[in-house]
Amino acid sequence: MTAPATTRLPAAPTTLEVGDRMASDEVGPLTRTDFVRYAGAGGDLNPIHHDEEFARDAGLPSVFGMGMLHAGMLGTRLARWVGPRNIEELTVRFTGQVWPGDVLSFHGEVEEIADSVATIALRVTNQRDETVLRARANARVRL
């Protein structure tokens, strides 16, 4: 089990400026166990994510990860940057699938700050540098 707990989870709003970037982090290579662990934790028991025969019968090369798994991984990394209680909004758009063996990277950058709220653009990419998820968040910051 990896823990990107190199920084403490902030309770209070943190100081951010336009152009600041989230600490880079990687997870993977992902395994089917990662998908099964998330199925149990999050409650998404769609067999396309854990049943290899079912996935192959549906014409896929294998099972693939739930979008909410890498959205959740991105969410906790965003929380570790800006503080979980300071996030006001988060929107994630699923742009690609995540497969066993993939290594995911998590990116975020402050685009704008107005009225003590930062607008942050976020992305999850795989080892082929394909973007599998794009996101935006608003978070309260300390000026």
Binding site: A3, L9, A11, A12, G40, G42, A79, R85, E89
Partner: protein, 153 residues
């Protein structure tokens, strides 16, 4: 096939407990096994009054929703084999914490049809789920866009 007439349909209401062991499971599934996510003493040590929750905590609703994760898709008559999850968004209105007993209330807020890339019609459905806590406060609002892709013929 999704019938556009489902716009506005209420999808019911159910309870979602925010319990410590599910928060620990989520932390481990997210590869962020920091005890602040599930241990009161660690949370207090980090300056939190109670255990904080990750931004996607509302996924726990899938354990309690009638029909599970695919419940809403089935309720709107979607062809699950052609269904994609396009987008999810959250507004966080009040803190959610361990021990909360949330009530989730879902409804279809929008149905839109578009021309598919290879012909046919694809249907985009927005489902809004409001989460209120045991004190009656609206704590989070989640919106999901489901896409039923155009059929083969």
């Amino acid at each position: 096939m999704i019938d556009p007439a489902i716009a506005g349909r209420e999808l019911g209401s159910f309870r979602v407990p925010i319990d410590r062991s599910k928060l620990a499971e989520l932390a481990r599934a997210h590869h962020d096994d920091d005890p602040v996510w599930y241990d009161e003493a660690a949370a207090a040590d980090a300056g939190f009054d109670t255990i904080p929750v990750p931004p996607t905590v509302t996924v726990l609703a899938d354990h309690w929703r009638p029909g599970g994760a695919l419940g809403p898709a089935l309720a709107i008559g979607a062809d699950v084999e052609r269904l994609l999850h396009g987008e999810a968004s959250w507004e966080y209105l009040e803190p959610i914490t361990v021990g909360d007993e949330l009530t989730a209330t879902a409804r279809v807020t929008d149905v839109a049809e578009r021309e598919g890339k290879r012909g046919g019609t694809m249907t985009l459905v927005t489902i809004q789920t409001d989460f209120a806590n045991q004190h009656g406060q609206l704590v989070a609002r989640r919106r999901d866009t489901l896409i039923e892709t155009a059929g083969a013929g």
